[in-house]
């Protein structure tokens, strides 16, 4: 097992390298002169030239890439000009908030989704199945930003049960109950689509597995139906559900961008959108690379868990 | 001149290189083997799963490139020619008739492909030829515009045979052509194959795991074990008086009406590991006659009696 983890980690190196190349290439697509874009109305020829030199933009592209990569490896992601702070500090701070939101949503959608899928499959064509299918259909069709807005209207504006937005109350907040009150609506809005997708997948995976010969064998051996479903069938279904959880984690992370905007959540997604709109490219670059790298590591964790789940995978 | 001559034909599948260390030597699916088949003959090839019989078949028709050795058909050496070159000389009938037919093409489209691609035949000639072939395999022409899923296993296998015939090959490799079929249908297909051979002067390579079937259809039989021929001889003699202990084991294992149940081999013996082949005879681990010599040196095919060759240091006497 240790060998397998090491192998996966080693194989992540080219992926991480590729990510930085892709990001770098995309960013060098930018038309015009970044220095002019950054300086805006302060752009005098001297200023532009100085900034270009400061940013290393007068060097050839390959050299620029390796300088950028080298800096990142030493933890230097550059400086955000719009916030006038080191990119890495901003990203770490914002990423923390995003992890709270996205992590909660991910746990929520995994549990709810699998549960709904299993219930749906075992009661195929029954009332519970139909009700779940209907809710799931709505869940996967409603945009998370619209759902978020509707939740705010209902629970914050009309019923006044929950705070409208933010992560902590401005006055007197800051403790865990306060965070949870702020977290409920955005986490739900963010989890909706992924829950739907996972529920559908779990349902069809369970239906597929329940038809397999080894389920018939378990029944022929007199194993109780509860064990057949929660043990034999779900165990195998998990093998096909697991990779999708990994993919859905990416979707949850992506959806967080919208939800952070709607709920004014101080996360990395909102930061990225703001950075794009203010053309703070170093912040965009640094944020994208950082989050993508975290996602790659997360997927390795998923692969390792998959390997523990399925002994047929060669380690 | 033999219809088919194979010399030192071998296939090794490379293995994935591990993260650290050198690449392993590879899995020997077919170890260097040589044999020939005369025109008009049926050579039966028997062996159990994993003995390399399908790999051999795929190399013979050009679907798989050998790692070594040569294939000669009617004196012409086929190097690494494409399946299109092989196709005019040697054709293949697949084990699973349904999966060898494209589910989304009509039987006519399936039949036309070899005529058009291999022989460049114009449309009227193609229609005539297809009609002839269909008549010869006892299929109605109305089947031509249907799709594969509309046919039973036996019918689909006849379509597979018809397609092989359409290429007008000299040799047909039959890879377990009846093992997916029920016995009552199996006999229909076997008899049809025997008619066609006589009518078109074909040469067959008949691959199967069923000894009774292979004996009923072949002139000569080659027994494969672990990627190599262990015995080859006349069909009517080889199972009646086998020289290699493995052939004997096979013959004794087949359930026969009227013979009482005896396990010819009590140990739970398993096939040798293709990634780590034993140094001597591959069968030594299962063989009661095995000696130190067997475990040290691999025996070669030697003449043992008339028209019979076996690879054994201590062959059975009769």
């Amino acid at each position: 097992m240790g060998g397998y983890i090491l192998k996966r980690l080693v194989s992540a190196v080219p992926v991480l390298f590729g990510i930085t190349v892709i990001v770098f290439l995309i960013m060098s697509l930018i038309p015009g002169d970044p220095a002019t874009a950054i300086l805006g109305s302060y752009a005098t020829p001297e200023n532009v030239e100085k900034l270009n030199r400061d940013l290393g933009l007068d060097k050839p592209m390959v050299q620029r890439y390796f300088i950028w990569l080298g800096n990142m490896l030493t933890g230097d992601f550059g400086r955000s000009f719009s916030l006038n702070r080191p990119v890495i500090d901003v990203v770490l701070e914002r990423f923390n908030a995003t992890m709270i939101l996205a992590g909660t949503s991910f746990v929520l959608c995994s549990i709810l989704g699998i549960l709904a899928g299993v219930v749906s499959a075992t009661r195929q064509y029954g009332l519970a199945d139909k009700a779940i299918t209907f809710v799931v259909l709505i869940g996967i069709s409603v945009p998370s930003f619209f759902l978020g807005m509707m939740l705010i209207l209902l629970f914050a504006v009309n019923l006044r049960w929950l705070p409208v937005s933010g992560m902590y109350a401005i006055y007197g907040g800051g403790d865990l109950p306060d965070l949870i009150r702020h977290l409920i609506m955005p986490a739900l809005a963010l989890a909706a689509v992924a829950t739907g997708v996972i529920a559908r997948l779990s349902r069809s995976a369970m239906l597929e597995v329940l038809r397999q010969d080894y389920v018939r064998t378990a029944r022929a051996n007199g194993v109780s139906e509860r064990r057949v479903i929660m043990g034999h069938a779900l165990r195998v279904a998990m093998v096909s559900i697991f990779p999708v959880l990994g993919i859905q984690a990416g979707f949850v992370l992506s959806g967080a961008v919208y939800v952070e905007i709607v709920f004014q959540w101080p996360g990395v997604g909102r930061m990225l959108v703001d950075a794009i709109l203010t053309r703070d490219l170093l912040l965009v670059q640094g944020g994208v690379v950082f989050v993508a790298a975290c996602y790659v590591l997360f997927n390795i964790a998923v692969d390792v868990a998959q390997c523990l789940l399925d002994p047929r995978i060669k380690t | 001149m033999p219809a088919l001559k194979v010399e030192h034909l071998a296939k090794t599948f490379p293995l994935k290189r591990p993260l650290f260390g050198a690449a392993p030597p590879g899995a020997h699916a077919v170890r260097p083997m040589s044999f020939q088949v005369e025109t008009g003959e049926t050579l039966g090839i028997v062996g159990e799963s994993g003995c390399g019989k399908s790999t051999l078949a795929r190399m013979l028709v050009g679907l798989l490139e050998p790692t070594g050795g040569t294939i000669e058909i009617e004196g012409k050496a086929l190097g690494s020619a494409s399946p299109a070159v092989f196709g005019k000389l040697i054709q293949y009938v697949f084990q699973d008739p349904q999966s060898s037919l494209n589910p989304r093409r009509t039987i006519r489209q399936v039949m036309e492909a070899p005529l058009k691609r291999l022989h460049g035949m114009p449309k009227p000639d193609r229609d005539k030829r297809i009609a002839e072939i269909f008549a010869s395999v006892n299929l109605r022409e109305e089947f031509l515009d249907r799709y594969p899923h509309e046919f039973s296993g036996g019918q689909a296998q006849r379509i597979g045979i018809a397609r092989a015939l359409a290429a007008s090959p000299r040799i047909i490799v039959l890879d377990e052509p009846v093992s997916a079929l029920d016995v009552s249908v199996q006999a229909q297909v076997l008899n049809l194959l025997s008619d066609l051979k006589a009518r078109f002067g074909l040469t067959y390579l008949f691959i199967t795991h069923d000894l009774a079937v292979v004996e009923a259809v072949s002139e000569r039989v080659a027994v494969l074990y672990f990627g190599a021929i262990v015995e080859i001889g006349r069909a009517e003699r080889i199972f009646a008086s086998p020289r290699h202990p493995y052939t004997s084991l096979l013959a004794k294992s087949a359930p026969v009406v009227g013979r009482s149940l005896t396990a010819p081999e009590q140990k739970g013996s398993e096939l040798p590991d293709p990634l780590n082949p034993p140094p001597g005879c591959a069968f030594a681990g299962r063989c009661r006659r095995a000696t130190e010599l067997c475990r040290a040196r691999e025996p070669e095919l030697k003449q043992m009696g008339e028209n019979q060759l076996a690879a054994c240091h201590h062959p059975l006497e009769h």
Binding site: V15, G18, I19, L29, Q124, L137, P143, F146, M149, L153, V164, M206, E208, D213, Y214, R216, T217, R219, A220, N221, G222, V223, S224, E225, R227, V228, H232, V236, V257, L272, I276, L277, L281, V284, V291, P311 | E48, A84, G87, F94, S100, N102, R105, A113, G154, G160, R163, A167, D182, A187, N191, H209, A212, E215, A216, P255, G258, L261, A263, G268
Partner: protein, 621 residues
């Protein structure tokens, strides 16, 4: 095509989705022709008019622009951009996937590494990076959404292509002289196309949502042009005071995406052949019972199948798989049930303990009695307690019938503990003992193996050990050696025979092989088209078959030692089970059949020991 549409419309939800999206598409296309306000004319005096106001069906937005007009124009834009993105992604992604999947090897490796790299990004990061580089704008958003979806198509289509490229019909096409391009276009593409259509129909809604999302963030369409996303984005600041400006575009996105999703599911279900036959339904814990007619009285046999009828309802067709079968075994007896595929032998075996998959299967008549007690329609718990305890099964393919993720020891102990109050360690001891009993060498070590770590013969030994776990009275072995090599088969048959003699087990042995039954069974029942056509002691039936089918079937089987010869064959095919002829089902293939064979019920009759269902048996029994 018409069959596809019929299937699609039979799905009411899909039809509803189609209707809704058709209306929206029509409206969107007709928008320029409709008498609407100019969507971009600002009239600050009229801002935030409520819906249903004079001349403003949906009211106005924060700049006094007509919401209905903006909604329709926005819908038009959103649909156009979303569908365009889906098409671009599908074409490029599928092309990459097909090429990578077909050629395999290095091509595949390089291409898929690239795809994996793109998929290593949470998709929005890639989209944001692209928009950041190209600058905000609707076209750039379209490019970004298409680009992030290309890897999904590529990976999906590649998977399907790899499966197809390994199929034998591709080999056959190569042998027919086709080149790579032609094989891709004429052999692969028609088979991949439905998958591409499914992938598109299930993702186009998602892509519409994505472009709307980018516009919502202010990175897509730029003012004054507005798609649904940017309408929602602009309305957000006034959401609390004037919710209707948000709700209107939000609901529209929801409607579009939901109707497309419904339609997409319908398309998938209609195109996916596995769903077409209704196969993807969950088999219940026990077979459904819809018993008609009287239940036959109890007998003193150990296990008796009495006039059993099992049918499969697939669509409108009713397949009579088992049509009145009676069998019985006494303690220590071994009965062989022999027949070709479709004869109903396996269904009979599975019906005994209610293991026939239902739906679509149902037991419609007869009884199965274990020591006199009727098992058909018995409560689930009563049945479960006998399964694996009194009556145990050994199935055909041990790789498919053992659970792939549990160690064989776990599976054995579970079977034991389902019926006995043993501790885990006691059960494990018993499991090792059982593996020893079926002569697995190194049982203490093998007990912790997974099934995939064992050879076929070893796995089947485990299957037999599982059947023996609770010392049952009857073992039903359903083609237990068919998937095995002959040398292994001989070992397994010997093992079963020894165990039967040692333990006084009754065995029902289902097979298609006369050699196997001859060596193992005391009595034989021959099945054809769901019925027993002949039954009697093994020697009698094989030595002097009375039914023409039995006689001719035996003649079809080549025997070792017979030399090179012409084989006997039975012309014709077995009847289809949803349209059985009256009278004898074998009559159409029988040379002795007369008019009387084709009508009425023909009973299974003859002396008590050797009965035959034939009016003109081969020899008076």
């Amino acid at each position: 095509m018409s069959a596809f549409l019929a299937l699609l419309f039979r799905n009411r939800l899909a039809a509803m989705g189609l209707a809704v999206i058709a209306v929206i598409l029509l409206l969107a296309m007709a928008t320029p022709l409709l008498p609407l306000h100019d969507p971009d004319v600002i009239a600050t005096a009229d801002r935030f008019m409520r819906p249903l106001s004079e001349g403003r069906l949906l009211g106005t937005d924060h700049l006094g622009r007509d919401l209905l007009s903006r909604l329709l124009h926005g819908t038009r834009l959103s649909l156009a951009v979303g569908i365009a993105a889906a098409l671009i992604a599908a074409v490029i992604g599928s092309a990459i996937g097909i090429v990578a999947g077909y050629f395999g090897g290095r091509t595949d490796n390089v291409v898929m590494r690239g795809v994996d790299m793109l998929m290593a990004f949470p998709y929005i990061l890639l989209a944001l990076a692209i928009v950041a580089a190209l600058g905000p704008g609707l076209m750039n958003a379209l490019i970004a959404v298409a680009a992030v979806n290309v890897p999904f198509f590529a990976r999906n289509i590649r998977g399907i292509t790899v499966g197809l490229a390994g199929r034998e019909f591709i080999d056959a096409a190569r042998l027919a002289g086709m080149g790579h391009t032609r094989i891709i276009l004429t052999e692969l593409l028609p088979n991949v196309l439905p998958v591409i259509v499914i992938a598109m129909s299930t993702t186009v809604g998602w892509m519409i949502l994505e472009t709307a999302g980018l516009s919502f963030l202010g990175l897509g369409s730029q003012p004054p042009q507005a798609d649904l996303g940017s309408m929602l984005g602009e309305a957000r600041s006034a959401m609390i005071s004037h919710p209707h400006t948000s709700i209107v575009p939000g609901l529209m996105i929801f409607l579009i995406v939901m109707s497309i999703n419904l339609l997409g599911d319908g398309v998938r279900d209609a195109l996916d052949p596995r769903l077409r036959s209704g196969a993807l339904s969950r088999p219940r814990a026990t077979t459904l019972v819809r018993r008609q007619g009287a239940t036959p009285p109890a007998t003193d046999d150990l296990l008796a199948v009495q006039d059993l009828r099992t049918e499969f309802q697939v669509g409108k067709r009713n397949y009579r798989a088992v049509g009145g079968v009676s069998l019985a075994v006494k303690p220590g007896e071994s009965l062989g049930v022999i027949g070709e595929s479709g004869s109903g032998k396996s269904v009979t075996a599975l019906s005994v303990m209610g293991l026939v998959a239902s739906p679509p299967g149902a037991i419609t008549g007869g009884a199965v009695r274990f020591q006199g007690e009727d098992l058909i329609g018995a409560p689930y718990e009563a049945l479960r307690q006998k399964r694996g305890d009194r009556v145990a099964y050994v199935f055909q393919d041990p790789l498919a019938t053992l659970h792939p993720l549990y160690r064989v020891g776990q599976q054995l102990t579970e079977t034991i503990r389902s019926h006995r109050n043993l501790s885990k360690s006691e059960a494990r001891m018993r499991a090792i003992q059982l593996l020893n009993d079926v002569r697995i060498p190194n049982a203490e070590r093998r007990v912790d193996d997974y099934p995939h770590e064992m050879s076929g013969g070893m796995r089947q030994r485990v299957g037999i050990a599982m059947a023996l776990a609770n010392e049952p009275d009857v073992i039903i072995a359903d083609e237990p050696t068919t998937a095995l090599d002959v040398t292994v088969q001989a070992q397994i048959l010997c093992l079963l025979d020894d165990l039967r003699r040692e333990r006084g087990l009754a065995i029902i042995f289902i097979t298609h092989d006369f050699g196997v039954v001859a060596q193992l069974c005391d009595r034989i029942a021959v099945m054809y088209a769901g019925r027993i056509v002949e039954e009697g002691p093994t020697q009698a039936v094989l030595g002097a078959p009375a039914h023409p089918y039995t006689r001719r079937l035996i003649a079809c089987v080549p025997e070792l030692g017979g030399g090179r010869r012409e084989l006997a064959a039975i012309p014709g095919l077995p009847p289809v089970l949803d349209d059985l002829p009256p009278g004898c089902a074998f009559a159409p293939r029988c040379t002795k059949a007369e008019e009387s064979c084709r009508q009425g019920e023909i009973p299974l009759q003859g002396p008590a020991l050797h009965a035959v269902r034939c009016l003109f048996p081969e020899r008076a029994p």
